[in-house]
């Protein structure tokens, strides 16, 4: 029973991170058909923003020393600002370009951010201690669950709830949903295209910052490549979920998280190092069975 509970919490917390990542990708893809491959570098940038630029191994914590009620809004702001800046400086110029062109531009942007961080902080991973208390376990029905897992899950659920309310209840949300469904049409009806796209980037950037905070707290290190793995899984989740479907991306994020944890727990010991091969194998099986993804939206279907 406790083992099952432990697996459940592992799955939910890992799935949470993937879901937040997938949400960040899907938010932008929805309104402008761009898969932002710089998203992982946004995550790393937000983590490094807490450190003072230096090439020493021992990081000089800067903003990271702020109390949480200042640090969290500050990082969300940094994430949103970086993301919106990249839209204004880079992606706006490719508004009418081929999706492949935009994708390559996002790769290039990722390189620029990564090498900026390399210049400022060197490639050495740095230790960073945020809220060590979150590492302590809490007892829940006999299982010892790290506090951070509980916090991660609660934050993710809260973010999802707020986002759903935002999309359903506000006029910006309505405009975003319409733009995600049929951007040209929305624009012709007077929906403010640039505003909606900027908003999607802001949301995506804040999600990147949230992931950065969770990863940094969890691992205690700041590493330039730390966002890459999340970005990869998040991208896969948006594909499996059905490109363009936001709930699909979230569901698939949780699904991949769960699959990873379950494989980790159930595979024979010698096969565990190949866990990711099994996860990606499952991804391939899903895509063979449903090439359009699990929850493809109606708007993505070709009309006859």
């Amino acid at each position: 029973m406790t083992a099952v509970l432990q697996i459940l919490f592992d799955a939910l917390s890992l799935g949470s991170i993937y879901a937040l990542g997938a949400l960040g990708i899907a938010a932008i893809f929805g309104v402008m058909r761009l898969v932002n491959f710089a998203h992982g570098d946004f995550i790393a940038f937000c983590v490094f923003a807490m450190l003072w630029p230096s090439i020493d191994a021992a990081a000089i914590v800067f903003a990271g020393r702020l109390p949480f009620y200042l640090l969290i809004p500050l990082l969300l702001f940094i994430g949103a600002a970086l993301s919106m800046l990249s839209e204004v400086v880079v992606f706006r110029r490719f508004r009418n370009a081929n999706p492949a062109t935009m994708m390559i531009a996002s790769f290039a942007l990722g390189f620029v951010i990564r090498h900026l961080l390399l210049m400022l902080y060197s490639s050495r991973p740095k230790s960073i201690t945020l809220w060590p208390n979150l590492g302590l376990p809490v007892e829940f029905l006999g299982a010892h669950i790290p506090m951070l897992q509980v916090v991660t899950i609660i934050i993710t659920l809260a973010v999802l709830a707020v986002l759903v309310l935002f999309l359903k209840r506000t006029r910006f949300g309505l405009e975003m949903r319409a733009a995600a469904d049929n951007f040209t049409m929305a624009r012709m009806l007077g929906v403010r295209a640039n505003g909606v796209i900027l908003l999607a980037f802001a949301i995506s950037g804040m999600l990147a910052a949230a992931i950065g905070l969770i990863l940094a707290t969890n691992s205690g290190t700041a590493d330039i490549g730390m966002g890459a793995n999340v970005m990869l899984i998040a991208f896969i989740a948006t594909v499996i979920g059905g490109l363009g479907s936001v709930p699909g991306a979230v569901a698939a994020g949780f699904l991949i998280g769960a699959a990873s944890v379950v494989f980790q727990a159930t595979l024979p010991h010698d096969a565990r190092v190949f866990r990711d091969a099994f996860v990606y194998g499952a991804v391939i099986v899903v895509l063979l069975a449903r090439p359009q993804g699990l929850f493809a939206p109606k708007s993505a279907k070709q009309r006859v």
Binding site: L174, A180, N182, M188, L189
Partner: protein, 255 residues
């Protein structure tokens, strides 16, 4: 044709696509509160003309005037705010959104506050008798309901002019009769100037006071339904014969 009256007017509009003349010197007026028809064979340039009148396509030469005010080159969404609305041949609803959201977002796009947009959407749906569809996902609607929602979206905030691009395409006789009732009410009750583009000539002859006939980018005939019914030029255009040729029917009779 008066230029300062309550009309939406295209004056000697020409449009070329890569050297191909889509419209040449087309002049057409849509008066407020009346139903005007636009017919013509496939590829005659009907949709291009609608695109020009609603700002989706700029006129190469010539001008478009909205009640005396030149509106050349004004973007589609701004023209919509000024009161020129349209529907599309293929509905073009937001397919993942509920019907009410489809209408609401139009209100928001027109600058309404969310609450006002909701109220306006409910009013329009009640007026059209489609309130029961409010919560349905637009992509799941049957064809005729989809058309009615598209019309609902176009009459949000009561525009001054409404251009309907083949609203009856694919409808049964009964369904297009219901549509005719709605179009009449739009002109009579809301005072909207309607331009009806249709292949269903029967519907156009039944509804319109004045009909323009477009063929190969040129207006070849203008007149009342009776005049259009008796026009040789129109019959030749539809049969694909030349003016000086006898129509196949007449040939058959003559021989």
């Amino acid at each position: 044709m008066s230029s300062g009256g309550l009309e939406l007017v295209a004056h000697e509009v020409s449009v070329q696509f890569e050297g191909l003349k889509a419209l040449s010197e087309v002049t057409l007026a849509v008066p407020r509160g009346r139903i005007t028809g636009l017919i013509g064979p496939n590829g005659a340039g009907k949709t291009t003309l609608i695109n020009v009148l609603t700002g989706f396509q700029s006129a190469g030469t010539g001008s478009v005037a909205l009640e005396g005010q030149a509106v050349n080159g004004i973007a589609a969404h701004k023209l919509r705010r000024m009161g020129v609305a349209r529907t599309f041949q293929s509905g073009r609803l937001f397919r993942d959104l509920p019907v009410i959201d489809n209408l609401e977002v139009t209100g928001v796009g027109l600058g309404q506050r969310r609450r006002d947009a909701i109220a306006e959407a409910q009013r329009v749906m009640a007026w059209l008798g489609i309130s029961h569809l409010a919560g349905m996902i637009a992509g799941a609607l049957p064809y005729t309901d989809e058309r009615r929602v598209a019309i609902g979206r176009a009459i949000m905030c009561t525009p001054r002019y409404l251009l309907l691009d083949e609203p009856a395409a694919g409808m049964s006789e009964h369904e297009s009769h219901d549509l005719a009732v709605i179009i009449r009410r739009i002109a009579a009750e809301l005072g909207i100037g309607v331009l009806l583009i249709e292949h269903n000539i029967g519907l156009v002859l039944e509804l319109c006071e004045r009909i323009f006939v477009l063929d190969s980018g040129e207006i070849i005939e203008v007149g009342s339904p009776t005049q259009i019914r008796n026009s040789d030029a129109v019959r030749h255009a539809y049969m694909g014969t030349q003016q000086d040729e006898l129509l196949p029917v007449e040939e058959a009779v003559a021989s």
